[in-house]
Subunit: 244 residues, 2 copies
DNA sequence: CGTACTGTTGACACAGCTCAAGACAAGTGG
DNA sequence: CCACTTGTCTTGAGCTGTGTCAACAGTACG
C-alpha cells in the first residue's frame, strides 16, 4: 500500500533559501497520518496497477482524459511537443506524485516514462465522485494543484530569466528537494541529459558543459552518468538565486 | 454588475491552430446564462470595489492571501521578482479574469497594475465558504484554474524553446485571443514593451526589433505605441507554431 | 518649450547553439 | 570472456541570435 512513500528519504535538511521554495512537507502530504488514512483507502479501492516501460508514452496531449495516475515507482516526464520536434518538459513526476488530476476533459500535455514505471491508474469519473463524497480528498488534490502551479511559476522564472549555470543549479536543487539524497550527498539522476536540457530550455551540450564547470569549481562531483555528488549545496543555492 | 463582460468583443474568429489553444468561450465562462446567474449574485454580495492606479502593487509574493480579486477594468500583471531586479511576468489578467483564487495561504506571485485598474475584492474565507455551499462555483474556479495551468504550460514552451520572432508572434496571438480586436484588425496593447519583454523572457530592445521586423515583413503595422494592426494573422499563427 | 519617460535603432560582444569527433556504458551474440 | 554494436555523454571549434551599451526619436505633461 503506497510503500514507495514510506521508503522515500526526507528532503534536504539545510534548504531554506531555495529558488523553488519548499512547500511544506510535500512528500508526505498525501498518504500519511490522521484522517488521511480513510482517503487513501478509498483511493486505493478504485485504482489499478499499471506498468509502463522506459520511453513509452502513458498518454498524449489531446487524448481524452479518462484516467488520472499516481506514480508508484520510477519517473515520468510531462511535456509538450512542437511539430518540428522541439520539446519542453514542464515537469517531472516522481514516486508519490499525482499526474493529470483535475485536468479537464482532455490531457493538455503528454506523459512519458523516463524510467520503467509503476503507476496506479484511477478512472477520472470515479475520482470526481470521490471528490464529491469526500471533501477532504478534493481539498488535498486542490492543494497539490496549487503546488503544481507554484512549481510551474518558478520554472517560468528559470526559463525566462536565468543563465545556463543558474538553471542547472535550480534543477539540481529541485531534484534534491523532490527525491532527496540517495545516500550521504549522492543524488540520483533518473533522467537523461536530453531530458534535463528539455526541462531547462537548453541544449544537451550546454547541460554537459555546465555540469563540468560546476565540477571544476568543486561544487559537485560526477561519479557516474546517473549520479551526482553535491559537495556544496549552499553554492548551488546562491547560484540559483542569482547571487553571482 | 460585471458590465465589463458584456462589452467585451468576441475573441478572434479565424483562430483554430493557435499556439495557445482556444479554450472554449473563456471570456463568457463566468457571469453569463442559466444557473450561473445565482452564483454571480452570490459572489457579488461578498465583493467590494477597489481601485488601483497604474504601476501600484496589488499584493506581493509572500503576503498572506487574504483576498482574491476579479479584474473589472484595466490590466494586471502577475509576476515574480529576483533579488537583482530580474522579473518574469507569468501572466496578464484582463477584465473578467480572476486572480489568486485558490492559491493557498500565501500569494506565490506579485500582482501589479499595468494600467489604472478597477477590481472586485473578495475575502478568501468567504470564497471558500461559498465554494462549500455552492459546488457549481467551486467547479467554475476549478475550470479556470485548469485553464491557468494550461496557459502556463504553453508559456513554458514559448520561453524554453521558441525564438524571439516566435515568442512575439505567440504573444500577439495571446493578446488577440484574450482581449480581441478593438476595431477591425486593431489590437490594443495595454502593457509597455518592458512588460512584453518580461513576459517573453526577452529584452525590450529585442521586442522592439522583432516588432519592426514583423512590420517590415508586412505582417503587422504599428500605428502607435499602444496599438498594433494585425495584417496577416495566419502568418502570425504559422510563426508561433514554428513553421519557418 | 523644457523635462521626463518610453520606444526605436545601431554597433558590438558574448552566452549558448550547431556541428563534429571521440569517450564511455550497456547490452548482445558468439 | 571478448568483439561488436548502439546509444548516451563529453569536449572542442566556430557561428549566431540575442543581450549590452549608447544615441536618438517620439510622446506626454506641466
Amino acid at each position: 500500500m503506497f510503500a514507495s512513500e514510506a521508503v522515500r528519504p526526507a528532503a534536504a535538511s539545510s534548504s531554506q533559501p531555495l529558488a523553488w521554495p519548499v512547500i511544506g512537507t510535500r512528500r508526505t502530504m498525501i498518504g500519511t497520518s490522521s484522517g488521511a488514512e480513510n482517503d487513501v483507502r478509498a483511493l486505493q479501492q478504485i485504482g489499478t496497477k499499471l506498468r509502463v516501460s522506459r520511453g513509452k508514452t502513458i498518454f498524449n496531449e489531446g487524448d481524452p482524459a479518462e484516467n488520472a495516475y499516481k506514480v508508484v515507482n520510477g519517473t515520468v516526464r510531462l511535456c509538450k511537443h512542437m511539430a518540428d520536434g522541439r520539446r519542453q518538459i514542464a515537469q517531472f513526476a516522481f514516486p508519490g506524485d499525482f499526474v493529470s488530476f483535475m485536468e479537464g476533459s482532455e490531457h493538455n500535455f503528454t506523459a512519458e516514462a523516463v524510467t520503467d514505471v509503476v503507476l496506479m491508474c484511477y478512472p477520472q469519473r470515479q475520482i470526481d465522485q470521490l471528490g464529491v463524497q469526500k471533501p477532504s480528498v478534493r481539498d488535498r488534490f486542490l492543494t497539490l494543484m496549487c503546488q503544481r502551479v507554484c512549481d510551474m511559476q518558478n520554472l517560468l522564472m528559470v526559463l525566462g530569466r536565468q543563465t545556463a549555470k543558474e538553471r542547472v543549479a535550480s534543477f539540481l536543487l529541485m531534484l534534491l528537494e523532490r527525491i532527496g539524497f540517495e545516500e550521504d550527498d549522492i543524488l540520483d539522476v533518473p533522467m537523461s541529459r536530453q531530458d534535463i536540457a528539455d526541462n531547462l530550455g537548453l541544449t544537451i551540450e550546454t547541460v554537459c558543459r555546465t555540469l563540468s564547470d560546476l565540477k571544476r569549481a568543486g561544487v559537485i562531483d560526477i561519479p557516474n552518468q546517473r549520479q551526482l555528488q553535491l559537495l556544496d549545496v549552499e553554492a548551488l543555492q546562491s547560484l540559483a538565486a542569482g547571487e553571482d
